[in-house]
């Protein structure tokens, strides 16, 4: 799980173009939206596309999607349970 979290942090940094950040700068348990990383709706789109591209996970339900994007750890747990590639 920890390895997947680190990989996911790296992918988030690349997808969202956080040039000055390293995986160590992201708290796996901090909220991604609002406080914490403070992502916006376009960042959410990048995360949706990241899950589809890298893990074959398609998120269509906004309610479920928002629950998954609570933190990097929750995303990683969802990926582990639902990945198709």
């Amino acid at each position: 799980m920890e390895q997947l979290i680190e990989q996911l942090k790296q992918q988030i940094i690349e997808s969202l173009n956080f040039e000055d950040m390293t995986p160590a700068d992201i708290d796996a348990d901090a909220p991604l939206f609002g406080e914490g990383l403070g992502l916006d709706s376009i960042d959410a789109l990048e995360l949706i596309m990241l899950l589809d591209r890298e893990y074959g996970i398609k998120l269509a339900d906004p309610k479920a999607g928002k629950a998954i994007f609570k933190s990097v750890r929750i995303m990683a747990e969802y990926i582990q349970a639902n990945r198709t590639k």
Binding site: N17, S41, I42, K58, F69
Partner: protein
């Protein structure tokens, strides 16, 4: 100090808007255009903020104070007609539509891939949706959640008959992003305005001799999704006609990713400027377009 931005609502109370639909059905659209003058004279003085916004646009295009003041009235008259036309469609009225360079549009409508239809508040873009929607491909209009209930309700009814849905953007919520992604994955069309604020973030663009903030989210969305983008203008002509102009915009993939949305926004702004100068009375962004509260992104 930045001025208050347009709140995104079509004016009038529930009762007034219902009356308008009834009036069009009873006396016909030309008579309603005539009656509108009474309302326009009142509106010029009743909404000084809106009048000032329209005046700023005409001054920006080089009109002197006197001519700009007359042009405000002419803009209001055109805007009134477009609003009446919108309600006329709700009551079943049909307009003649002339469309140019629509081959790409119909190619895309016949393909299985999704694409973005980028429109503006120059003219009456909603008319294109009604006339160019097809039963085989659903279109979704990205709508600001702040419209008055009657407009949303009437619009939703007519839109649905034409296989058009609405994806509503509510500030602070990301639900619309899931809906957008899913609809484009299904090969549907997303119609979105590039000249109205959606959220706080903006991209500064050169526009009519100044710098104007365009909504960053719209262009970042286009740049992120990387599907084809068709820019569309729908302009009113005399005798109940509308003219549709279409062209494809391209993401400049040679630029760094962070700059691609800004480049697309500037392509849009440049084309919007050209069309606005050619059709100045169809400019319906009645607020100080250049001085809106914003947070520019780099």
């Amino acid at each position: 100090m930045a001025e208050q931005a347009w709140n995104g609502q079509t004016g009038g109370t529930h009762w007034m808007q219902r009356t308008l639909v009834g009036l069009i059905r009873c006396v016909g659209i030309q008579a309603v255009y005539g009656i509108m003058h009474l309302w326009l004279v009142w509106y010029v003085f009743a909404r000084p903020d809106v009048t000032r916004g329209a005046y700023i646009f005409h001054r920006r295009r080089g009109r002197n104070r006197f001519l700009a003041a007359i042009d405000v009235y002419r803009s209001y008259y055109h805007f009134g007609k477009v609003i009446i036309d919108r309600f006329a469609v709700y009551s079943g009225y049909r307009f003649d539509i002339v469309a140019e360079h629509t081959e790409r549009y119909y190619d895309k409508m016949n393909s299985h891939a999704g694409f973005i239809l980028l429109f503006s508040h120059l003219g009456n873009s909603e008319m294109a949706a009604y006339s160019m929607a097809t039963p085989g491909k659903r279109m979704n209009i990205l709508a600001f959640g702040g419209e008055t209930p009657v407009v949303m309700e009437e619009r939703a009814k007519v839109l649905e008959k034409n296989n058009i849905g609405m994806i509503v953007v509510n500030p602070g919520d990301i639900s619309h992003i899931f809906e957008i992604n899913e609809s484009l994955n299904r090969g549907e069309v997303l119609a979105v305005a590039g000249d109205r604020r959606m959220g706080d973030k903006t991209i500064d663009c050169t526009f009519m001799g100044g710098t104007a903030p365009l909504p960053a989210g719209v262009f970042q969305l286009c740049a992120a999704i990387r599907c084809p983008i068709l820019l569309t203008f729908v302009l009113k002509e005399p005798k109940n006609k509308y003219h549709i102009y279409m062209e494809e915009l391209h993401i400049n993939t040679t630029l760094p990713r962070a700059k691609q949305a800004a480049d697309l926004a500037q392509q849009y702004a440049s084309r919007l400027e050209q069309m606005a100068l050619e059709h100045p009375y169809e400019w319906f962004n009645f607020f100080d377009f250049w001085n809106q509260p914003h947070k520019a992104v780099k």
